[in-house]
């Protein structure tokens, strides 16, 4: 009887700990995108060259946090305060190209702004086209 009580207490404590820890995990804040960007469309067409160029930019600038396939499991991801999220998920992929362009250009929190690093806007559009190939 005593054993049963102790094991039940351990289970309850474990459940409570999980609940407390998950309670501390920051929930992602909504990221509003200005109307101007929502209306933007990608001027590039997805062909092999554009995907290859986009992949090159992804590997150099994005992969260390977002991971090879966009799962958010890059080597730097663990050090981030905010979760990079799963960019291959339908949730992330349902964003239009203009929204992604805005988020990559401007950045927020741990996500750096790339508008100065990638001064040629075409490079951002290329990486968005590559990002679409990560869709699960």
């Amino acid at each position: 009887m005593k054993k049963r009580i102790i094991s039940s207490l351990i289970v309850v404590a474990a459940v409570m700990m999980v609940a407390v820890i998950s309670g501390f995990r920051p929930t992602p804040k909504p990221w509003s995108v200005p109307e101007k960007f929502l209306k933007m469309t990608n001027p590039l067409k997805a062909d092999a060259d554009v995907i290859k160029d986009g992949k090159g930019i992804w590997v150099k600038h994005c992969q260390s946090c977002h991971g090879k396939t966009g799962l958010g499991d890059g080597p730097k991801a663990a050090q981030l305060k905010t979760e990079p999220g799963d960019l291959s998920s339908s949730e992330a992929q349902k964003q239009n190209d203009g929204s992604l362009f805005y988020k990559i250009s401007e950045g927020r929190d741990d996500m750096p702004s790339f508008k100065k690093k990638l001064q040629d806007e075409e490079e951002i559009w290329q990486v968005i086209i590559f990002l679409r190939t990560l869709k699960k």
């Binding site: 290859k52 992949k55 090159g56 590997v59 150099k60 600038h61 260390s64 100065k116 690093k117 001064q119 040629d120 075409e122």
Partner: protein, 295 residues
């Protein structure tokens, strides 16, 4: 009369048709033609080992450089292949004012040598327009040791001019050829005849430099540099330099690790006074670290 009117109205339509066709064609011509863009990333940094590359970072990029050269590995275990031998260090910084112009400055441990440098990219390899990228690199060096080391103040100064011509052959291979002229204001002298002093070396040195890079993957590459001195001096002719290395880059960092013959961190001193002969195995290990920020 009615028939004539009908006929003339038909012919009256003809110029209208021609004008409308011309207008349609003109409209076609005004459609924006895609301008060919310059080739990107012929190399990933301002330098590759001891050699400048044709690259100039995009405008408002600030770069910090740390360069380190160990001793030659000739002594083997005695100084742990040169890693525990006296080393040379350079700290430098540069800033791209425009998309095709960068200026920088630095200080080197050996001789407390300051340098001011600039690079201007005047041609960028562009499909159908320019087969190569061409840049000019200029460098002024000032030896800041105590005055007792010099006769005249101008003896402290040396100059380096280099033309950098590079081509990105494909996504993997980039090649560069860079002729340079090094100039020393003061060289050692000797009495060539009673009362006549001649220089042991010329004041100028022409060198041809060859660089190649092969990308193993997007963020990793192997490279070589070979520098062939062209000028023949009376004595103290410098040895060529052979350098092989590995380059790793990230979004903002570049790390290069290599072995070569150049021990100095000044291009003038390297090109004019290299005493390390690769045929005698006088190689040393070096590394370059650079970090850039975009403003």
């Amino acid at each position: 009369m009615k028939q004539l009117l009908h006929f003339s109205s038909r012919y009256w339509m003809l110029p209208l048709l021609v004008i409308s066709c011309w207008a349609a064609q003109a409209q076609d011509n005004t459609e924006p033609k895609k301008k060919p863009k310059p080739v990107k990333n012929t190399f990933d940094g301002l330098m590759l080992g001891d050699i400048q590359t044709v690259m100039v970072p995009q405008k408002h990029t600030f770069t910090l450089d740390i360069q380190h050269r160990f001793g030659t590995w000739k002594k083997g275990y005695e100084d742990f292949f040169g890693l525990f031998a006296p080393s040379n260090i350079r700290l430098g910084a540069s800033y791209s004012i425009f998309n095709n112009f960068v200026v920088g400055a630095g200080i080197t441990k050996a001789n407390m040598l300051w340098n001011i440098e600039g690079k201007y990219a005047f041609i960028r390899q562009t499909k159908g327009r320019y087969p190569v990228s061409v840049s000019f690199y200029g460098n002024i060096e000032i030896d800041s040791r105590k005055a007792e080391n010099f006769i005249y103040r101008s003896d402290r100064v040396a100059f380096f001019h280099q033309l950098l011509i590079a081509r990105k052959m494909n996504e993997k291979i980039s090649l560069q050829f860079a002729p340079s002229v090094s100039h020393l204001n003061s060289v050692e002298g000797y009495y060539s005849s009673p009362g006549k002093v001649s220089g042991v070396m010329n004041n100028d040195q022409v060198t041809f430099s060859f660089t190649g890079r092969y990308k193993l993957k997007e963020t990793m590459a192997v490279f070589f540099n070979y520098d062939q001195p062209i000028t023949k001096h009376r004595s103290h002719n410098p040895h060529p330099n052979l350098q092989l290395g590995l380059e790793m880059t990230t979004s903002a960092h570049s790390f290069q690790f290599f072995a070569g013959n150049y021990a100095s961190l000044s291009p003038v001193k390297n090109m004019m006074f290299n005493r390390n002969d690769y045929r005698e195995g006088m190689f040393l290990i070096g590394f370059n670290i650079s970090r850039c920020w975009n403003y």
